[in-house]
Amino acid sequence: MARRLTPGRTILWILVAAAALISGVRYARGLGAVTRLSDRFPWGLWVGFDVLCGVALAAGGFTMAATVYVLHNERYRPLLRPAIVTGFLGYLLVIAALLVDLGRPYRIWHPLIMWNPHSVMFEVAWCVMLYTLVLALEFGIMVLERLGWTTLLSIARASLPPLVVAGVILSTLHQSSLGSLFLIVPGKLHPLWYTPLLPVLFFLSAVAVGPAMVTVEAALSARAFRRPLEFPLLADLGRAMAVVLTLYLGVRVVDLVLRDALSLATPRTVEGTLFWVEMAVGVILPLILLALPVALRPGTVVTAAALVVSGVVLNRLNVAITGMWAGSGATYVPSWMEVTVTLGIVSAGVLAYLWIAEHLPVFVERSEEYAGG
């Protein structure tokens, strides 16, 4: 059944090709030729969506790895590998997006030798590089299994627990430091989003979106690969989501009240409206859905998870783009070329995921793995 060129995949391939073409134009004629970015608005869709959301949506990898390898909660093992694959792909795509967005992409490695440890970006750079390495090793185990290289495999498996701990530390650090990036713009980011607690909020929402992404993916791959949905697991994930979301809501509200910013959340301003959409879609609705008795049905949990995912996307876009409109004195709306590159990068991710799911033991869990660790 592998490598059928269905209409869906054709569209994905076209988007990838279009993104590649536009990137070509960017390398030939500069970022100004393809983006609407400007001196007053230097970061746009590629940072706001491709990087911030890309990293957040890859959070399933570290939350699942922590659950299975650190908390030894074996029940979740069937969900672990798909989450690691998505996490790994997510990071590779973030790097791909950076290679288009950076002015001098061939120097992406410079932070390795040119240090400014007072820079949040420096910390982000190191965390992304190290965590991609950790994910690559976790992913490598699947490749080794497929190739059947048993000696290497047992070495790799033995090194997993410390790797996972390192991965969790790295994730915590830079999920939150993506929020810290914006701590330096108190005068530019709208007070509905600017708070000293940005790193905490970014971290909490990443933890909430981890199980949400895993749920959405499980539902999608269940359909794509005609596998049964492991509902009891999903129900547990839903409960975990609800707990983290409640915590997030609490911190967010207390913070808004203490900073006296709640009065700004009137739907009469663009920012106020966006704030309410973000909170309703990403936090309030999913919490209601998960609290209702219908939460016992798979459809409800999957819907709630999809809402949480959209809510985190909205939040990151609000922080990086719409929340910066007023303070920067520039209105930025991405060009169609920026949107196409973003769609192309997402498409590449989906295609890669499909290929991996068909060729590597993602959904197969052999019992000897646990024995090896």
């Binding site: 949040v120 701590l183 330096i184």
Partner: protein, 291 residues
Amino acid sequence: MALTRRQFLHLAAASAVGVTVLSPTRPATARRRAAPAVGVLVDVARCVGCRSCEMACKRYHGFPERESSDLGPTAWTYIRVRPLRQPRSHLNLGDAGADRRTYKVQCMHCLEPACASACPVAALRKTPEGPVVYDASRCLGCRYCMLACPFQVPRFEWDRPLPRIQKCNLCAERLARGEPPACVEACPMRALQVGPREAILAEAARRIAESPDRYVPAIYGAEEAGGTSWLYVSDVPFEELGFPVVVREPLPAYTWKALGKVPTLVIVIGATLSALEFFLRRRINLNGGGH
């Protein structure tokens, strides 16, 4: 391939720096305030808008000599024109210049620059002498410096395949030779004045004290973003002239509060997770690998 001795020394130095900087202290820039750094005074009341400074900057740095209406990659400074709501007689032009004010805009050369603290590779750096300088050979083009700057100064070469950041460098090469910045030298009205920052601050305060009916009692840049090397005095309130309202606290401190917690976080999370992993594994093994 073995490391050369030089590479080894580099690495050794880098790791030593790593150890010291990762300890939770304030950024090193905080100490710079004590150093005798340069300051430049812009007297908005004296400026007649002749653009001599703008042209001198372009000539000195080899940029095309066209008038600019904004900062740009080849416009490190420009003269901003602000119409006044209430006409006010101009110090040098009298009633002829009463309907507007003109003033010079450029990088403020913050004492604790947000741009330099933001840059992951230290391409931007505050020199002890005062200028905030840029090293294009390090820059990734991530544009975090542009986002971070509270005065919206750094410019980017949007139309180049391999762009650089561009901004006023306070004529660092000229200062090093003991010469004034090109723009300061060019001003016919002596609206620009360079000297040690302390002396320049005192001069600004003196002008305000001497003509309290003319100058507004504020020195822009004295405390903005923790203080800047460029300082402004004016006979029209700065808000009316469209100067950005900027927090008083040095901006690097905002991120540093979060960043300073990183080493503690690493240790605490690492220890907690390892302990959890160890005890939970032991419990499972004691229970015979069961549930």
